[in-house]
Symmetry: C2
Subunit: 238 residues, 2 copies
DNA sequence: CGGCTGCTTGATCGCTCTCAAATGGGGTGG
DNA sequence: CCACCCCATTTGAGAGCGATCAAGCAGCCG
């Protein structure tokens, strides 16, 4: 382990799953953690593999994606610093239903299933926090499910971009930059469409001055226009 | 409360949420429960209302549905005997994100949020079971999300019917009957399409002798044909 | 028996997927 | 440092699934 024990404890104190634990308890949790680093494109775990570990992102960005038997891919979500991923061991599933792959150089702490069982046994707040996190994930995916049924593609892409802005963006001169590499293909897999359609939509937006984009890079220049697309308002901003 | 204490305890012993509790503990849980009955069409709770209670279905069938600001409806799932619904209080949400409505005459036990908090505090297995249930629900909705993106309507309708058969069906002379009233509109809201499309699909299936259907009533006469549609096999059965 | 609610069916339209091919930027290796 | 190659992206053309609009029909309940 490359990190100092105290440092890990400090980080864990900001992680939702471990909220309400005392410093002493956090130290125990930290002591049980392992650390992995992955280069971009490398996977922390692969869909279908035995679900052994629970992860928390320290740095970088991890893409959680699934693939159908027919080969169709979808992106479930992106996890950033402080986010949990691979939570299957928490609720007793046996294999990972998705693949967790580093998009940028990433580091994550992990706990083995048995370790986690012990920790949850000793420290009940962990189970309650997990419940809360899972509940939020559930309501998030339900909203997206509903969007998928009821909304047109352009609107879904707008919403997806806004969500990504919230999760992981940086202000730059031209506007707001999604600060990890994001291809049209990725956006398509997030919104449940094809890269062609996404490309056309972004081109149209670019002409309207709403975004500037390049190879795996997107800058939103007029966020408010994006909001009005997402909310389906007639565009009343400049 | 119309039920005997012991009777309730007996029922609770079959509910997943309360697995691993001793008889003594179950009695305590039972003592804290309340009972509600609803006529068909009546709601246990309404989308947007303050989430006060957690329910377990005793009998009947409860439809969990959402409606978008634009008025588009979707059915999240159906809950039958032993199933949990309105689990929002479990994970700390403040309002119900959906409406829970009785489809047939239904009865449910409920616990108030504070009561549930106490029970989970006293009996840790409840929290762990809840975690497991939420996890399963999560993977279920993820599968359906994926179906929605990757599969054509006919296949989704076939899958939905097969799921409903598993949940709640009865053998009759002609085949397998979905044993609660299910309209085309309902099926459309389950599969994310329109009642027109569902009606066309069912008509086509009826011509091929796969189903027999009437007003809010569906009998599957050749389940294997339905499976082959759901799995997209070329139909090699009679 | 009448009206309501749920179901069927036709016609049309348009969004989005599919298939195809060309373009261009960036990184790598020479 | 330059040239090449690969991968992401763009753009076009066409087809088709399913939504939408619009009637008409038929059980069922009161």
């Amino acid at each position: 382990m490359a990190l100092l024990r105290d440092e890990v404890t400090e980080i864990l104190s900001t992680v939702r799953l471990f909220r309400d634990l005392t410093r002493q308890q956090l130290t125990d949790v930290a002591a049980a953690a392992g650390l992995v680093k992955k280069e971009p494109g490398r996977a922390f775990f692969i869909q279908g593999a035995e679900a052994r570990r629970l992860y928390v992102v320290l740095k970088g960005r991890v893409k959680i994606g699934r693939i159908t038997p027919e080969g169709h891919q979808i992106v479930v979500r992106y996890a950033g610093a402080g986010d949990l991923f691979g939570c299957v061991p928490l609720y007793g599933g046996t294999e990972y239903p998705a693949t967790g792959e580093a998009v940028t150089a990433s580091e994550a702490l992990y706990w083995n299933r048995m370790t986690m069982d012990r920790l949850m046994g000793c420290y009940p707040p962990i189970a309650l926090n997990a419940l809360e996190l899972l509940g939020q994930e559930l309501s998030d995916i339900r909203s997206r499910y509903q969007e998928l049924v009821t909304e047109k593609v352009e609107r879904r892409v707008a919403r997806a971009l806004l969500r990504l802005i919230n999760q992981s963006s940086r202000k730059v001169d031209a506007g707001i930059l999604i600060d990890f590499p994001l291809s049209r293909q990725d956006l398509a897999e997030i919104t449940g469409t094809t890269l062609h359609t996404v490309s056309r939509i972004l081109s149209a937006w670019e002409q309207r001055g709403i975004v500037t984009s390049g190879r795996r890079k997107i800058v939103i220049t007029r966020p408010r226009a994006l909001v009005s697309i997402a909310e389906d308002l007639s565009e009343e901003d400049l």
